[in-house]
Chain length 598, copies 2
């Protein structure tokens, strides 16, 4: 069984040394988020995830959730662990003080979510979904709705879900059929079937608050006729206490490849009482607000999975003796060398390490941008942060989930045949992580969002501020011989990025399908270059520490070595994606649909 | 649930039109393998795999094998299906007539194995392993051993296994501990524990014949002290009838990520009676003979998985309506367009299609080389075939298993969230196929075998004949404007292949770890270029048919379109691998083992 050890030193490196969280929090007025307080919270979260959450990961996979007569039961230990999670005050961390939260910054919660997700992907999803429901009510709900639902959701004694998907519509929400008929008392009667509702039913909380999209009578077709409702499992009195059962039931749960300990439910709404959130027919807009934060949460899962798999693989690679090093015996006392001496094992370990740590930096940066959108002191900085999030969220979501999945596969390969055996826990990480490439919009959907909606939709404007950051970094450090190995390649890739974007834009004017043809390779290209920028910044921080005679020589030296590995052995993959984009879309579209097989 | 339809038209295209199997069989003296006979056998195998084997795939995964008091039971229906397999004479197809076989060529059996593996990976492994045991006894056994074991193995009423791995040694067989003590009657008493024994115990056959590696007393350490034994589950009388139970038992079965319907056993040998195969301490050599054929079998699994996943994904992509085509509505009568109109869905489908069909061509070619090693008319042609197999087997095994796995992942992505649900069968293909990247030597081991042992070990000599084939093909067709889109890129990549091989060789003289550092990227590069050569040949055949006014215009046009897709959108990935190789090994080896985490 895997043991999880929270990477506290590296989390602090990213937050405090790379992203200067102390200064960042001060500027935004998060006075309670002092460095000492942040350190204490991270240490406590490390203990909690290592000792309470991680030990339930394997049993959660083995037992899964069970459904019996409409009631979902989570695996042994989950209820008690969730209880501890609530008692520890974890759900309240970054929630508004007005509703019982601690008012701490979102980015601190993200650091903790990473540990939760590495320790137990399924468990981490329960609070993750509550967060989405909370954010939606806080942003778009009425004062009464906030008073009724938020305190219990913030406390964590109630949980939330997002009910979007129906059997015939996943990506294409405009096709939804769930109906919302207005009642005389101002509420709505909701009827329809939703599928793939994560945490849709379970035994962890006293009530479950569903955020549901549905159509009111006479609503326009498609995306312009979507309205948003809050529909609790148990009706809620005006004072926030629980009343009778609402017309909401769990019809079944799915049997899945992974995340077995998180119930994926069919939820039936039978004339369930619901309340409109925001304006009629404006539901999709409200959903998008939520979706960006959900997608950031998924990008974190990719990096977290890489970390968990790296920890397992590293321990095994140091322990397992097999074959001699090709460059000479390294362990003469033993019958063979530990497999960490073999270059290809190191290649896989360093891939995991560079994606995990690089992903942590990218997600940490995005989380700080979210802080700014919440607490920025002026509209201009808020808008700038929002703009960068719009660009980088689809990149982080798709790139890190794909690379995170690849890293869990490396973990299995490092274990050889043992990686395929459930007992070791490595294959579970692969199965669990695959969902991150699917939910909250598949990789293909993220890529279209990035290239069609964001980049080309803004005529490239959305790229400019981030390109400027990267270009300035390169210029500022171009003459530094210690950083040239990083800045020169980035500068060259930025020119490629610019050129390929223009080239796709021009081709798309003749054939719009060029966009879809290029999109996934384009996103992956952007992902590799973006992560390179974060690795270069980390190398710079580490070099400055080494130059100032830090007493953590090995830590910072390793950081530069990992950066070098990323630049030498991972970043060059971007060339393959570039060459594939240049292949264009014609060879994809030529074939008649009926001729794909004979 | 997935429905499997054997790709009979394409199998015939590869065998008969691309690889001229009719002429090939005639030249080797396989007089029974007439085109009519081959067609009839393939048609019959298609029916059997579609109707008997494929319907058991999902239930096999759900039920798995069970172990109770040392007895392994296969899932419902497996015993009956295996019975039909034996009654149909399938095990005998390419076995020697001397022992009851039909004496048909190996390559015909490979075509059938592909269908078996697409239909049901777990089921296909049972005969696959018998094949290995049979080949070993036929090549290295005594006449008496052949008389005792082969007829029943050929008939299929007994099955076989290969018992190599032990808990502390997988790749590094030299570390094995299983002991073989000589008895007075000329037999040996075998004691030890073997793990990961596929088909190690089950209820399909009357006896199980284990081929076991062990050490005799006083054997030299390491690979030079390995001897090979045949150890039956039930002892066998001299006339081939079954006697009493031998000291062989199944201690447990593994719980795995996939191939649940194939029992992966711990096999305990307690003073079991075994008989030496070949010479004492020469066992590893005998094993290698077998291993090449086993590895060819695994490469086929990769292509077969791509085919199965493609079939499921294609049906879904034509049926599932979601979003409108970005280049204009394609299905105005429906609420949305079928997702096959979206370029990125096509990219994934065509990746599956080009790997499945390209892999079929590569494996078909290798299978014909095996035919030559069996039945070649002169030693020179046999040696040449053997040499090409030595080069291409690790490429095919690792490249096709990795790409096959990637293709099953595309299948899941095309289904979106539904791909993650067990019911659809797409995720099972992913889980089952992952094993192909692990067993019979991981991807890393294949890559070392290719680059260190084969290519650099022969000073590049082993590359020459295949390079010559590819170069000649390019030269012969260089002036053909219809083929220039294929020959020009291949010629350029062949120059890269030559250069990078020399460059690695030179760097390795200074630092042997450069080999391991480059090996996997090198293998993948070789794989992409090798498949390009087969796609170019297929395009040529198709173009000739079109030029001669075939009445199958659509089939051949599609073949050329798929080839174009491969060249435009898959082959360019080789550039990424090349760039990664150029990054060298230094950034991998710099880090101290103790500094990988803090």
């Amino acid at each position: 069984m895997l043991e999880y050890k929270a990477p506290v030193r590296d989390i602090k490196f990213v937050m405090q040394e790379l992203l200067h969280s102390n200064k960042h929090y001060q500027q935004l007025g998060y006075d309670d988020a002092s460095e000492d307080m942040v350190d204490a919270i991270i240490a406590e979260a490390a203990k909690f995830t290592e000792q309470v959450i991680a030990p339930l990961n394997q049993i959660g996979d083995q037992q899964g959730c069970t459904w019996h007569d409409g009631i979902v039961t989570t695996p042994d230990g989950f209820k008690e662990a969730y209880q501890q999670y609530v008692e520890g005050g974890w759900p309240t961390l970054s929630q508004s003080e007005e509703f019982g939260g601690q008012g701490l910054p979102h980015s601190l919660n993200v650091a903790i979510s990473e540990m939760m997700s590495s320790a137990n992907h399924s468990f981490a999803m329960y609070p993750g979904l509550s967060h989405g429901a909370l954010a939606t009510i806080e942003a778009h709900g009425t004062d009464q709705q906030k008073q009724q639902y938020m305190p219990k959701l913030v406390e964590g004694v109630w949980t939330g879900t997002m009910c979007l998907t129906e059997p015939h519509c996943g990506t294409d929400l405009g096709m939804l059929r769930t109906k919302a008929e207005p009642s005389d008392d101002g509420s709505y009667s909701i009827s329809g079937t939703k599928i793939f509702i994560s945490a849709g039913d379970h035994d962890l909380s006293d009530n479950i608050v569903h955020i549901v999209i549905a159509r009111v009578p006479g609503a326009p077709e498609g995306n312009k006729g979507i309205s948003l409702f809050v529909v609790p499992k148990f009706n809620v009195n005006e004072d926030g206490t629980i009343a009778d059962r609402n017309g909401v039931s769990c019809g079944s749960i799915e049997h899945k490849m992974g995340i077995n300990a998180n119930a994926t439910c069919v939820i039936n709404f039978d004339s369930a009482k619901g309340f409109l959130i925001g304006e009629v027919n404006k539901g999709l807009h409200c959903m998008f607000t939520f979706m960006n934060s959900a997608r950031l949460g998924v990008s974190l899962e990719g990096a977290a999975a890489a970390e968990a798999s790296f920890q397992g693989a590293l321990a095994y690679a140091k322990d397992r003796l097999q074959m001699r090093s090709i460059s000479g015996v390294k362990n003469p006392q033993g019958p063979a060398d530990p497999i960490i001496v073999h270059p290809d094992v190191r290649r896989m370990l360093l891939t995991q390490k560079s994606i995990s740590e690089g992903g942590r930096a990218l997600v940490g940066y995005l989380a700080q941008l979210v802080d700014v959108t919440h607490a920025g002191k002026d509209e201009a900085s808020k808008a700038a942060a929002d703009n960068k999030l719009a660009l980088l969220t689809p990149i982080a979501k798709a790139f890190l989930s794909e690379l995170g999945f690849e890293c869990t596969s490396h973990g299995v390969q490092i274990f050889g045949g043992h990686g395929f055996i459930k007992e070791w826990g490595m294959e579970q990480l692969m199965r669990d992580t695959k969902i991150s490439c699917l939910y909250e919009g598949t990789t293909g959907i993220q890529a279209l969002d990035l290239l069609a909606r964001k980049v080309l939709g803004s005529q490239g404007e959305i790229l400019k501020p981030f390109m400027k950051d990267m270009t300035e970094f390169c210029q500022e450090n171009y003459d530094n011989p210690q950083l040239q190995g990083f800045t020169k390649p980035i500068a060259a890739y930025l020119a490629d990025w610019q050129n390929i974007t223009e080239s796709i834009g021009q081709k798309a004017m003749k054939n719009a399908d060029e966009i879809g043809g290029a999109s996934v390779d384009y996103l992956m290209f952007c992902g590799y270059v973006t992560l390179a920028y974060f690795w270069a910044q980390m190398a710079k921080v580490a070099q400055e520490k080494l130059d100032s005679n830090t007493d953590e020589q090995a830590f910072y030296q390793t950081k530069i070595q990992t950066a070098s590995f990323y630049f030498q052995r991972i970043l060059p993959r971007a060339k393959g994606h570039l060459a594939c984009i240049e292949g264009g879309v014609d060879s994809m579209m030529a074939m008649d649909s009926e001729n794909f097989s004979f």
